[in-house]
């Protein structure tokens, strides 16, 4: 698959008013977003996610590094811009305009007019499920409806790439699910989606690959199956004694919750499961259950960010 978004050592430094107070918003970011994938772009507040998006859209300018969109380094070119749909976080749409007027405004900016524009508006309103509310003014829209209109304006030119900044933040669970379904259907239609989000569960559910950013630096990037593959296995045992558990801990098996003689053991990836089970048998523990524990994206995220913070503290 070819990359439709590519950055190489992309760096953004905001100059401070006083020398030495520069803010390094992004440092040597090199990522590739392949076509027809959903790329989840994650990071805590201020980690540089929105900065990256603004750089890709030409709203701000890089201090160093290169970017290519659809193979073109001229990210402002008409052919490139027409192929990018963008939904900013918490976007505002004029309250006095009707839903279809908002889309008409943005459609004209793409150079669409007349029947073409009308057909396209009908199509995107249908995709985002807003056909029935098209004649209502934005003033009367709920947060979810505003987000859908935002998504509709991003889809107007039938772009190859969609860049969505926090598309589900602040929405109720039903609206979230609806937006998530729309995004998944867009992926099925062959669109490439770059989704910046705090909602880790949402991202985990729909992303093919993720990139995790911390303090402007990329900490991890890859397929979820690869990143989350280093799994623990949970073994539940009964008949556990404190001595037996101590010996298991010495063998590298982590001991979790204990209730009476029942205990939950966590076997890390580096300890072969067979060895762990043999050890339990040797301690005369009865196996209740053995279940592979899939690390969630949230756990992975917290671990990666925690490690990065620890590294920074140590280096200071």
């Amino acid at each position: 698959m070819s990359a439709v978004i590519e950055t190489e050592a992309l760096t953004k430094v905001y100059e401070g008013a006083v020398k030495g107070q520069d803010v390094h918003a992004l440092t040597n970011l090199s990522i590739k977003v392949d076509e027809k994938e959903i790329f989840g772009y994650l990071g805590p507040n201020g980690s540089g996610k929105t900065t990256t998006i603004k750089l890709l859209l030409g709203l701000i300018f890089p201090t160093a590094g290169r970017m290519k969109i659809l193979g073109s380094p001229d990210i402002g070119a008409r052919a490139v811009r027409t192929n990018i749909g963008y939904l900013p976080e918490g976007a505002y749409y004029p309250e006095f305009l009707k839903g279809e007027e908002v889309l008409s405004f943005y459609g004209h900016l793409y150079g669409m007019t007349g029947r073409d524009l009308k057909t396209r508006i009908d199509r995107v309103l249908d995709v985002v499920g807003m056909s029935r509310a098209r004649k209502r003014t934005v003033r009367g829209y709920s947060k979810g409806m505003r987000q859908r209109i935002g998504l509709a304006q991003a889809l107007l030119s039938d772009p190859q790439i969609l860049i969505l900044d926090e598309p589900t933040t602040g929405l109720d669970p039903i609206a979230r699910k609806e937006i998530r379904d729309i995004l998944a259907s867009l992926r099925d239609q062959g669109k490439t989606l770059l989704i910046s989000s705090h909602e880790l569960l949402e991202v985990e559910l729909i992303s093919d690959r993720v990139g995790i950013l911390s303090e402007g630096e990329l900490q991890a990037c890859g397929k979820l199956t690869d990143l989350l593959s280093d799994r623990d296995t949970e073994i539940e045992v009964s008949g556990a004694t404190p001595d037996a558990l101590t010996r298991l801990a010495e063998a590298g098996i982590r001991v979790g919750d204990q209730v009476d003689t029942k205990a939950s053991l966590r076997v890390p990836g580096e300890v072969p499961l067979y060895t762990a089970i043999e050890r339990c048998k040797a301690e005369k523990l009865a196996l209740v259950s053995v279940s592979p524990q899939r690390e969630t994206l949230e756990e992975f995220f917290v671990r990666i960010i925690g490690e990065d913070e620890e590294k920074r503290r140590t280096s200071q």
């Binding site: 859209l57 402002g76 008409r78 963008y86 900013p88 505002y92 943005y106």
Partner: protein
């Protein structure tokens, strides 16, 4: 669509959107209502202020009353029109940056200079419509009172627009570098006020240098620099002629075309500054 048509279509779309959003601004509507109230109120106010004591005074009284009405109305149009022009020019770009509309617009196939032209045109539509409303009311009132078409007022309104064009273009330029409308509004007012006082600046320059004090000398230099740089907005006022000439007289001693070109050159300079500031502005 071809490239030039695309270009114009996008500019026009932004201009119309700016106009539609701008005319809904509460402050602007407030200024407009207030100015219309004063325009109406002037008719009654002057009637009370100039009550004739004898039949002989009646004719003089009507003449004085009319002059007062004209004076008040021309001043109101000028001041409220300028306030509207300054406020709207100062706020359109900063408010779009604040509410992030600019993100969705500039992520479309739109160049920054197109966006700015559209915004600037939208501002001019608002100024023109407001001015037309205020001047239109005054025009009708004068027509009814004097029985002849006050064409001189139309010339005055035209020149007033070009005065506002100069003020709004510089206010707009400053607003392109700001995150709120406060600083550009203050600077817009500064340009409007000093632009109407440039003759005094010449006077200040003439009087400076009479003492050996450095402050005196530098004040003179500053006054000269301001005189040469700032537009002379007094040239755009036909107030005296409206007061003392017949309502349908042509304007006298005014080089209309030269003033229009003068205003357009200043407006172009304002737009160039706006673009120069905005082209590398980080959103």
């Amino acid at each position: 669509m071809t490239a030039p048509v695309n270009f114009l279509s996008s500019v026009w779309t932004i201009a119309i959107y700016t106009w539609r959003e701008g005319i809904r601004k509460k402050v602007l509507i407030g200024f407009l209502i207030l100015s219309i109230l004063v325009l109406f109120g002037a008719q009654f106010m002057t009637a009370f202020l100039t009550v004739p004591r004898s039949a002989g005074e009646l004719e003089t009284s009507i003449d004085v009353q009319l002059k007062m009405v004209k004076d008040i109305c021309v001043t109101v149009i000028s001041i409220f029109g300028a306030l509207i022009a300054i406020f709207i020019s100062a706020s359109v770009v900063p408010s779009e940056i604040e509410n992030k509309v600019v993100y969705t617009v500039l992520s479309k196939p739109i160049r920054r200079f197109q966006y700015l032209i559209g915004k600037f045109l939208g501002v001019q539509f608002i100024i023109i419509v407001n001015l037309a409303l205020m001047a239109g009311l005054f025009f009708v009132a004068l027509w009814v009172k004097e029985g002849v078409l006050p064409t001189l007022l139309l010339w005055s309104a035209l020149l007033t627009y070009f005065e506002f064009l100069i003020v709004s273009s510089f206010t707009f330029a400053v607003s392109c570098a700001c995150t709120s409308a406060v600083v550009p509004t203050i600077l817009g007012l500064f340009i409007y006020i000093t632009g109407n006082l440039t003759e005094y600046l010449k006077d200040v320059e003439r009087r400076s240098g009479q003492t050996a004090l450095w402050l005196d000398e530098w004040t003179g230099k500053l006054a000269r620099w301001l005189y040469l740089t700032l537009p002379n907005l007094k040239h755009f006022s036909l107030k005296t002629q409206i007061l003392f000439l017949e309502p349908n007289d042509p304007p006298r001693d005014v080089q209309m075309m030269a003033l229009v070109i003068y205003a357009l050159v200043y407006a172009l300079a304002g737009y160039i500054i706006a673009y120069w500031v905005f082209r590398r502005r980080e959103m």
